[in-house]
Amino acid sequence: MSPQGRVSLRGIRKLFGKFVALDGIDLDIEPVEFFALLGPSGSGKTTTLRMIAGLDTPDEGTVTVDGVDVTFAPPGARDVAMVFQNYALYPHMTVRDNIAFPLKMAKVSAKSIDGLVHEAAAKVHIDDLLHRRPGQLSGGQQQRCALARAIVRKPKLFLLDEPLSNLDAQLRLETRVELKKLQRNLNVTAVYVTHDQEEAMTLADRMAVFFEGRIKQIGAPSEVFDRPNSVEVAAFIGSPPMNIVPAHLDGSTLTIEGHAVRLARSFDRVPGPVTVGIRPSHLRIDAGGIPTQLYLSENLGETRLLNLKLGEVLIKMRVTQSEPLADGETVPITFDSESIHLFDAETGLRLEAG
């Protein structure tokens, strides 16, 4: 039997009043893949997840799961489980009853329920808390309870709506690792909504980057990080995000703030304005480089983040050296021309050499 949980969205459009929440979403999620829907708030990622769950229906387009059109099927008919941002645990039930609820609704025999509940609870390490009520659990334990409730009936699709956002930073890191482990052990397709690009990068096998109701890029995290296909994606991925600087391109000569830089590649296009993307870690201090003014230096422990003024633009540069620099001091910077990304100044789309 081939693994289940293949999801396809075709031409999904959703309006809330006059607001276009989703505008032509096409997406394929493969079985047992950990797929992240990433984007800023209001970009349509949660709405997309709700379409897959059946909690919302599209105005246009189709949703299929394992080849079956489920566009208008009710949530219960889809064999999906979901972990909500606020967990949505039933406060009047014990942890045991919360986890058992999906089994009861699926009319699983009372005999097998107990074993299955224990099994699911053990997987998320809350088997000693079964008698408690959600109100008596910590945030992390509540989250585990919600996970156990989702995995107990072994759904073919596992949907997670920002499940880590209510946890504190330390717990979030720990849970992230466990979540990934859990998904691998269960061998189930997971669709994960987050606005945290770091979470998406570390968890996902592939991800879709959402902006204003559209998908801007789909790919493996490294692919999206290394080759962002638009300025928007480039500026969203990475921590701190990529520096975006206006420049002028003429063949293989790039001019930034009056300083010409020779590129290894040549671009066959009409000379004109472009947008340059440079990651903070790809900048170096070089005596003959482009002069910038130090605006503020942030100490991050192992590294230092320099906020530099390049003309009117504020850019960030990551340095490991801890040479003392005073605010206002001139810092000449340079970069490897291979490491920069060029985008069309008008469309914002990636430019390829040639």
Partner: protein
């Protein structure tokens, strides 16, 4: 430090005085009625009122088992009030859920007209209801009386319960739907347990209103359906008012209300203390 403590003591004292005064205003008639119920009819009318007298329980015996026994009427009141309460809750819970959650055409205006029925003064409805029940042949019948009470209690109960239902996080219901629960199962397993407190409050209100109702009971009832509020009128006649027996009957009639109030109060507190999501709204 001392000034603080002094201010706190003063605050407590003022609060106690205000609370005691209010309590006295409420309790005094009850105490008076209780004292009167222990006197003989002669002593009740003595002027100045006697403070020292030999108490008797004969008024209670008369009220319960005498010529104007209120036992049958207590039973009638219990049947009418219980039936009204049960029917109201059975109908109001799904209706309130529908108002709170479902996308219905004309939901807003329906909600308004539901509430609008509460704005009509009851006295304006007595004659229309009399004529309607008369036409149906429902005067002096249990189903007639209960139906009339339902027309008041149902809109009120729906309005009260809607606000409780709206406070249940929608995600919890969505979670239940994903777990293959139907609407009814979701209502039963997820929503109702969380609005128990609200239902308890509604039960008290509806039961008390029905139990204490007089205007419609006296006009639309009769010898078959004579609630205790009407039956007590038997102690008042043109020639005399039997104050002691009336007081005894009134106190007996109050007893179920008090017991239900105390019993349901526990439920309310329980309903309020249930709440899993930290900082969650009213439950």
């Amino acid at each position: 430090m001392i000034a603080h403590r002094r201010a706190r003591i003063l605050r407590t004292v003022v609060l106690m005085v205000v609370a005691s005064t209010l309590l006295l205003i409420w309790v005094l008639p009850l105490i008076w009625a209780f004292v009167v119920s222990l006197k003989s009819e002669r002593e009740v009318l003595a002027y100045p009122p006697t403070v020292i007298f030999s108490p008797t329980t004969s008024n209670y015996a008369d009220a319960l088992f005498g010529d104007f026994s209120i036992v049958d009427s207590l039973l009638t009141s219990a049947i009418v009030s219980t039936a009204t309460t049960v029917l109201t809750i059975v109908l109001a819970v799904p209706a309130a859920y529908a108002f709170a959650r479902l996308r219905l055409p004309a939901k807003r205006s329906l909600g308004f007209y539901t509430m609008a029925t509460q704005m009509v003064p009851p006295v304006g409805l007595v004659i229309p209801y009399f004529l309607i029940l008369n036409r149906f042949g429902w005067l002096d019948t249990y189903h007639g009386m209960i139906t009339v009470y339902l027309t008041f209690s149902l809109p009120f109960a729906i309005w009260l319960l809607v606000s409780y239902m709206e406070d249940v996080p929608w995600e919890m219901e969505e979670a239940a739907f994903l777990d293959k629960a139907s609407r009814l199962q979701t209502l039963w397993h997820v929503v109702i347990p969380q609005v128990r407190g609200g239902i308890a409050v509604t039960v008290i209100f509806i039961f008390l209103n029905a139990w204490n109702e007089f205007l419609f009971a006296v006009q639309l009832g009769g010898n078959t359906v004579r609630p205790v509020t009407v039956a007590m009128y038997n102690f008042i006649s043109v020639e005399q008012t039997l104050w002691a027996k009336l007081s005894a009957a009134a106190l007996v009639a109050m007893l179920p209300v008090v017991i239900i109030g105390i019993a349901a109060q526990k439920q309310i507190v329980k309903g309020l203390s249930v709440g899993a999501v930290k900082g969650g709204g009213r439950r």
